[in-house]
Symmetry: C2
Subunit: 339 residues, 2 copies
Amino acid sequence: MLKRLALFTAILMFAFGATAEESKGKIMLVVHGGAGTITRKNMTPEMEQQYRATLEEAMRAGHAILAKGGTSLDAVEATIRLLEDSPLFNAGKGAVFTHEGKNELDASIMDGKTLKAGAVAGVTIIKNPITAARAVMEKSKHVLMVGRGAELFATKMGIEIVDPSYFWTERRWKSLQQELLKEEESSKPKAEVIPMFPDEKKYGTVGVVALDRDGNLAAGTSTGGMTNKMFGRVGDSPIIGAGTYADNHSCAVSATGDGEYFIRLGVARDIAALVAYRGMTVQQASDEVIHKKLQALGGTGGVIVLDAKGNFAMPFNSEGMYRGWIGEDGKANVLIYKD
Amino acid sequence: MLKRLALFTAILMFAFGATAEESKGKIMLVVHGGAGTITRKNMTPEMEQQYRATLEEAMRAGHAILAKGGTSLDAVEATIRLLEDSPLFNAGKGAVFTHEGKNELDASIMDGKTLKAGAVAGVTIIKNPITAARAVMEKSKHVLMVGRGAELFATKMGIEIVDPSYFWTERRWKSLQQELLKEEESSKPKAEVIPMFPDEKKYGTVGVVALDRDGNLAAGTSTGGMTNKMFGRVGDSPIIGAGTYADNHSCAVSATGDGEYFIRLGVARDIAALVAYRGMTVQQASDEVIHKKLQALGGTGGVIVLDAKGNFAMPFNSEGMYRGWIGEDGKANVLIYKD
């Protein structure tokens, strides 16, 4: 009887072109590349094309993993690695400079099935901080490791190490010089500084939330922090519950914006709590936190949120947020501006 | 008319022996000195007396501030400073050693009225990390600062700096040696290691939650981390939302225990969410998180929780937790064991 049922199922699946993997559950991947003062006015078609192409390529890498039954954790890591390798985003290669002219990177990742999590902060020689965060989660007994200790751990784990100069990009260096100049001249009447890139003044953090065929959620975030930040400052990206959270029973969240406000509100954890305890949809919960709570405190930024049924939301209260999603159909969707 | 009302009020207050300050709202301060394997069996009367006396002295310092109308933030900082200065607790002076034989300290503080927060992690030369955390909150634009950057900031702020050798204590050094020995001999048949102190194997983190006459809550936590922790590991104590949270609209929380589990659950933020979104009492909310969620993940520890009406709870799932409270009457209450 069971044999006949299996045969029948196999025939049905063949008839409808479905593989065993595809029949399990629907997949979804949502990405952000930072929120900030991103407007059509100060964006050239060439720049926009670069951002779109890189976001699409990164999403497709994650989608390919999910489509063949891979885990949401693998999809999150693969997508973020590509964004880290691009100089466009404030993460990995494109990290901004601290006040002292260094690049200090932060990243975190969380598994919605087990609530396991890993994070690194203030690292300067790890090419892909998201991979180091995953190693902390899977190969140490700790969740958060910072500075030299995190670097030694990553080195022992065989994770790719680079010279700090790898993170030097002309764009970010000029950005720091502009900020330093502004500080110096803050008592004089201000000349308007026109940023070279639309998001130059703020943010650029990247993040991914994903749902795999087994119904498991994962979330990850990676950043270079704030331009001109104080040496040793850690924002919300590596803080589980602030910049990143994932729980199959509520949702997966990755945030970008004024990190300090996101820590104070515990943005990612709060959105998950509103879904779990108030029965809100991911759209309602994230609107509540971004458009009411964050707005009331005076903070700016946005989040991507995804639940285990594939529902997602991408609210932000800044002028723009690089964002996109890719679902079962493999079509990569990218949005940048508010309207 | 108003004058007459004021006179009448003054007479009434005189008649009932109340000052203007005292008439405003009731005060409460709750403290913990760490959770762990603390049992009557391995506690001497002398040791117990030392712990009780130090906890009482620290609570009285905080109470004195609250009683004369001072802020909950001031009370939290003053109480924690005394616990940091004692070698008994794993915070400040009594901090445990990392695997490499160093002392790396973490602390955080949060203001329930404004949701402002400050934290330091991985600092090695700051005598009172809680004071550095408060300086980050009040004198920087950041929330969390780590390592050397945090130390430079504290130095600039005029906060007391000590040589790292200040944190060397024989007790904690021996504790590390025992752990290293256990690691070395982990393949051999194990000889039972008898700790010199009842809480030697785990924890000792200190924390305070307080309510002032203006109805404002504050929370703070300070720790030396885990004995034999990896260099660069950061636990839950400096993580706003994990080890510390305060919001006048829900409650103030300070946690102690297996830091990694507390980060993964976002313990402090979750308790506040259960109070705010589910309408639970602080006892119900903290029982839910400690006795159900933390227990289910396999973590050990406890929390102190206080709401703006002065209701408090102190649940833990370890064998004991140093804990106490002091209210309007100025009577310091200390508990150590489960029963």
